[in-house]
Symmetry: D2
Subunit: 498 residues, 4 copies
């Protein structure tokens, strides 16, 4: 019988009497565990546990709270192999890729260690005669996070370490596709000293999500996933009057200028487009070549490297790319490719018929490359979330920027050039939240915040980093004046000013 993956509520694992759903190993196509799908009562219990834990946690000094994060960082490092194996088994990504993901997650834990500095409010002496004023960033209460399958270790660490260091308690609903590592990591946090109930994990589907959004105890929602779901969640949370940040999909363009070194660009694009089988919201899926000369050279080099991609199970670290997450996703990517051919895109490398020996039932899909794709094609407009890179040819940087700015998404982008002017024009004018200059995956480090523009993010504050501290706190403004023993003030009927 398959291992059952439960919930972590108030420091205890709950896995009884619940509906369950299979978790697959995408490399074999076989179930490897089953995950409990939380009932309404289970979700309510998690919320209640977080509510109970809140008052004591709120009143714990931030510097004391931070001690948990220091120990947690150490435990994550000590147990990275276990975590990465869980990630690789259920998600499919190559072990070294899981390690990269975890490393970026640990970075967020490091950021959270600095909470005493980050929570500082602003103090003003004498805003008026003998009146002082200051601000405090107080915690919200119980907050919730909903995270996607593609970074099961990292994305939860974008959210809850910052939230709980701000003094909140948390209910996390991870993806039901690869829930094991989340649960394991949450238990490490408790081992590090996080009090019971401060972080609760519930597994489940849309019902659990809706319940979290609707429950009056939950003060804020953080979401990372696809744009349609992000939009729905943002609307539903706002309908309830809550604050929400909902990060959605992407179609990230790389612009290749004529002065770029094509060998370097090709290397960079191979990783950025095909790493993690293209299932990253920061993956490059469009290469915008400036001029045919650049395009021809680029396609030629890419072709050889895409054909040579080493695809196989993530547990073998010599592989460069693992499988897609589900059979359904494999079908979806296949359809996108077929449709693109029909719409006139030039298929340079076709990954549809890849078979990995010994893993014939795995959800593998070969690296795929298109040339001469146009903005009207679906393969250009849609987020494919698979190992498919399309080349679009334009004549100038201005045209490239205009193209990018017209796309509905605005998550990440990059430019390859040596030229200062080109880089500045690009970074200034492009309507995209994260910009790389010769950096193919410009994921900001943990002390800068992460967020896209346009339909890649709903809300005003970005994820992790400084913005997350503002998102997970409420500003309180205090004005203080002490009465002098003798003074008697007259009534001021008019509006007070200096």
């Amino acid at each position: 019988m398959l291992e059952s993956i439960g919930h972590l509520i108030n420091g205890e694992i709950h896995s009884e009497e619940e509906q369950a759903q299979a978790v697959y190993n995408p490399a074999t196509g076989e179930p490897c565990a089953q995950v409990c799908m939380a009932s309404e009562q289970t979700v309510a219990m998690a919320i209640s546990a977080a509510k109970q834990a809140y008052p004591a946690w709120r009143n714990t000094p931030p510097a004391v709270r931070a001690q948990v994060m220091y120990r947690f960082k150490q435990l994550l490092e000590d147990n990275q192999d276990t975590i990465c194996e869980l990630v690789s088994r259920e998600h499919g990504k190559v072990l070294s890729d899981a390690k990269g993901e975890l490393a970026r997650g640990i970075e967020n834990v490091e950021f959270a260690c600095g909470i005493p500095e980050l929570l500082k409010g602003e103090h003003s002496r004498n805003v008026g005669r003998d009146i002082d004023a200051w601000s405090e960033l107080q915690p919200l209460g119980v907050v919730a996070g909903i995270t996607p399958f593609n970074f099961p270790a990292m994305v939860p660490l974008w959210m809850w370490p910052s939230a709980v260091m701000c003094g909140n308690t948390f209910v996390l609903k991870p993806s039901e596709r690869d829930p094991s590592c989340v649960l394991y990591i949450a238990q490490l946090a408790e081992q590090a000293g996080l009090p019971k109930g401060v972080l609760n994990v519930v597994n489940g589907g849309a019902d659990a999500v809706n319940q979290l959004i609707d429950d009056d105890t939950i003060q804020a929602i953080s979401f990372v996933g696809s744009t349609p779901i992000a939009e729905t969640i943002y609307q539903r949370a706002s309908e309830k009057g809550k604050r929400c940040q909902a990060l959605g999909g992407a179609k990230n363009h790389a612009v290749i200028m004529p002065d770029a070194d094509i060998d370097n660009v090709t290397s960079a694009l191979m990783g950025a487009a095909y790493g993690s089988c293209g299932q990253r919201c920061m993956a490059i899926s469009v290469a915008v070549a400036i001029g045919d000369k650049v395009a021809d050279a680029l396609v030629d080099k890419l072709k050889h490297q895409v054909e040579a991609l080493k695809v196989g199970p993530g547990s073998d670290d010599t592989n460069e790319m693992g499988p897609l997450i589900t059979a359904a996703q494999k079908d979806k990517v296949t359809n996108y490719v077929t449709q693109a051919v029909e719409q006139g895109a030039e298929l340079i490398v076709d990954g549809r018929n890849l078979v990995v020996l010994g893993y014939e039932s795995g959800f593998f899909f070969g690296g795929t490359l298109f040339d001469k794709v146009t903005p009207a094609m679906d393969i250009y407009q849609q987020e494919v979330f698979g190992p498919v890179l399309v080349v679009v040819r334009v004549n100038s940087l201005e045209e490239a920027v205009s193209l990018i700015n017209q796309h509905e998404y605005g998550n990440g982008t990059c430019i390859f050039t040596r030229d200062g002017e080109a880089s500045r024009y690009f970074s200034d004018q492009v309507m995209v939240g994260m910009v790389g200059i010769n950096v193919p995956l410009p994921v900001p480090v943990s002390y800068h915040s992460f967020g896209g523009w346009k339909r890649s993010l709903f809300g005003d504050l970005h994820a992790y980093g400084p913005d997350s501290v503002r998102f997970y706190t409420r500003r309180k403004a205090i004005s203080q004046r002490w009465p002098t023993g003798e003074a008697k003030d007259g009534t001021l009927f008019s509006f007070p000013s200096l």
Copy 2:
């Protein structure tokens, strides 16, 4: 024929061929002007003007943009008498009160002068080897503000100076009850050098508001008004995927501790409860007395002062209180008082039958005081927005804080005490956004932000001050690495980390 108040679009006043609605002088109860109610075409024209003006304004250096604010501040000061007369005539408030309001509005203009400092992003050298990263706070594009009748000069100045200094262009929809001063001030801004189309003013009602929310060009909505409208606007803007900050109603409590000087408290409460006829979102409408001894003394002193309140037209600066904004509001307040009597509140001073000689048709309402009000009564639960103060008696500070925390609103509050411990307990525990310690109207100065908690504010960022800069900008995170001439990088398929 009455003067017609039009719209300011692309630097020109438009008042032709529109539906119009009367604007009243609340002191006389007579119409004093009529305001054009924008058609769909007019609103569209304003949005279009803002869109046209955006690119050039966005690219104007912030320090150059700031020059407009310096001149604008001077013009506001030079023309304060004219502005305050317009405010007083259409709103009804006493001239000195209008001056206080304007002074706080000018403070926001001063804050906006500092935009070069406020727009600074964060720069990190070597986030990885030879990789630098920085953030920019770029403008959103065209944004809109919707403002209430009660501070017609000040609240618009909370919004657009900060928004346009951030590089946005603006469409402002002020209250149709007292629109004249807004239009006058907007023209001063253009006189100060604000380019045409950067600030546009449209008058109108719910249709205009909905059109602003729904139009895809508008990137963000700021709203100040009542909670039901704030909630609706927040929901509708979020439904469209937009960022929104919507400030709503209030029921602000003042806690009077046994050690407080009752003479001082009485003076403070008189201004805070009856100034501007109670029509302030920061007005004190509940006095929470700790113990009967305090309550008895307080009610006794208040009674005499409320009875002695000098009520009359705002144009006479010796008056302490002017009329309510409309006849309908007068009826509403009357009903609240009548209902409270029926529900058992002890009516100490009854303002229902006040007649101001020579202004018999004015919307005047006398200062009203209740004692022994309980949390179950409507007069306690509802925002009355009139000159009505209720006294609630409790036995301890803990009980007072608990009372306040159970109310649906959490805008402002204050405590009167000399005691450090009481003040700290109160400011720490109370779930209210703006807290005064012996400051009856703790409106934060312009360089601290304004915002309530609970159902007093929807959104995560507060109004004006530092939060407004974050609200009116989008964060862009840039990661930069320059290729070295010789170096050839290998492909990194795994997720990049240090």
Copy 3:
């Protein structure tokens, strides 16, 4: 033969062929080790090692450098018993006191972990048309710290963790009285991964200090010690054109208001005056009683508790107070007491003749209390650095503040009161760098900076916390404009402005 304490240079211990000096166990009065006193060559070798290590360390990304601090924190916690035993043995303080010291030192290591956030510069887009500007906080190079005997574990951790995290390399010259724990801690840092040569420790006396100040390689000097030495060092470093922060002595006053709870005040003063045998720069050595009633009650209570002080070797954790650091210091304190009696101070408890059984040769000195001390007496004017508390009687808070402001030192102070007005008047008006309101030892937490006013600190930036990052870095301001391909600029002979 006694253990020999050497230097740590470039990752190696050097203890050969040097002059040595005895290190005493102050509880026994016997030598417990001997410390090498660095020759000119040895100091030069340490400076050279730091210089060699600098370029690689400077170019290591801050987030990578921070990893050393995370591990170092863990090692300090794991080895706290060893460290505290070394501290107690050579300094004499009670073990629990040594633990308190170390805990505050570790706090500084935690602060240093946050270096990626702390090193952020400011970025401004469009300071002029198409001109961007930003600032970087770049390291200085090789910097030096000179630390006192009284906090051998903590004060070095105020300095070098922040300095090396900023990218500098360091030469530390600790006190020759209790050097063992410093060397031990430095070795833990290397065990944590600090590259050889980044932190070097040299033991020595005035010659070593002067050599460090004079050597052109050293870019900045941090010093903590007595005011005469601090002043000399500040002058000498400035003579060499270097930046210097030199923290000196103190005479910290506690003001006791009539509303204070005398039991609590007595408890607080006992720890603040006699803890660590009064050898703290933040020790309270003057109690300023407001009115005779307060003074009488206070002296009465203090008398009994001072007489009951449990004095003995620090290795016994049931003791409350250990010995003074040296026989010379014991003589000095004795002389101060004798002189005070001669000058008319009222001696309430006399600690001069204390004998600790079994430790007759130890440098013990009993808790001493004076009443009716006046500002003219030497015991009031001088920093005694021993377990001597004097009571000064004044009539008002204003008089107390005036008294404090006339003293040459301005390190720390505190007030005991419940009254908000008194606390605000005091904290606003008192010319002292660190103020406690009912906090007897207001040592700022690590993320706020430490520093006195007047002759307690020479320089402008305080120790540790945010100021230390500014002290250990040089600001670099970069203005950038990329040429457009076509544009030809005319010459601007006049000074450039917007």
Copy 4:
């Protein structure tokens, strides 16, 4: 009889009974006024006035203080013609150059308007259980500034607006060469509402400077001038235990990369080298050409333009360059040129014998250009402070950076290139405080701070901008804990930690 230029003390002009010294019009070589040289009594009177004005000014809320700056900005703009004529007459610079200078000075006034934001301290709730901590940046008291002749309008505005907005009062000792505009501007400040005694101006020489440094009332010294004087002042102020920032000389290099557009570079260098007759601490005086090809092209183009320089009195705005400041300075520059020729530098354009018709007694010196200058020559090592540009030829960017880093000065520098990698290598590695990338005079805007490295600045905080606020304030750290009514604390003898 010549106009007598007095002192401004406590709001009154003092010009009686003092020694006086001639002020020259450098274009005519004739005296145009005489300046009073303050006696010891006069300086003491100025210090005393500042001391008297301090308490009231310190307690004036920053936002109220700022109103003076808003009005002052307006007055500076309204009177710019008068100011610039005074500057041009006594300094000699061309009117348009004086306007550029003044505009940058006004920028500093704008920065000072933002003082309420800039003075914010940091507030931390719960640094320990129920302990809050915050910092305040309190003013120092009376501070002094000593400013040079070359920017008589701008450099004083770097100092005192920031200092007085921080709450200090000020004594300014401007250059005795061109004192008129300083006095005029100070009077505008009083007209703007600056209270008497807050800003005092004394004219004088070295004795006045020394008196200011030595007087115990003066808390801090800001100086801008030549390096030998800066060093002396830094040493003397430090000897007195004071904080000091002393900005000295420069030898600013421009690096010209092979990819730079030589026409643009030539235009940029002409202004940067010869504007204001080279008498700017940010003037470019060394052009470092990478490779002979660049050097040959550059020298060729420069030659023609230098020969064509339009030199004449500054009052004629068609001139490009005015005279040197004094006859002595003319002799000094002449000697440098002569010596350079002797040492083997290749003289391309010789400005020694320039005669301006109608101004034969003026202190004019023609634009001078050297090629093939080597680091060993005096003309390379010394700050000439005249219209002399030298070309040094090197083979690589690395060599250029190494050259710059070996020079004793490190004020400003720039690079001309389109290449991102070159610019980043340069800005990262060069040991210079202000770096321009295609910006020939990288004077930071007012909201970034100004300061050189190495012997171009003594002290740790830079001039104007954020650093100036830290320089002109003392940090006060407050820790606050309110006693609970019941609680009785035990004594803590050990050092307090969390």
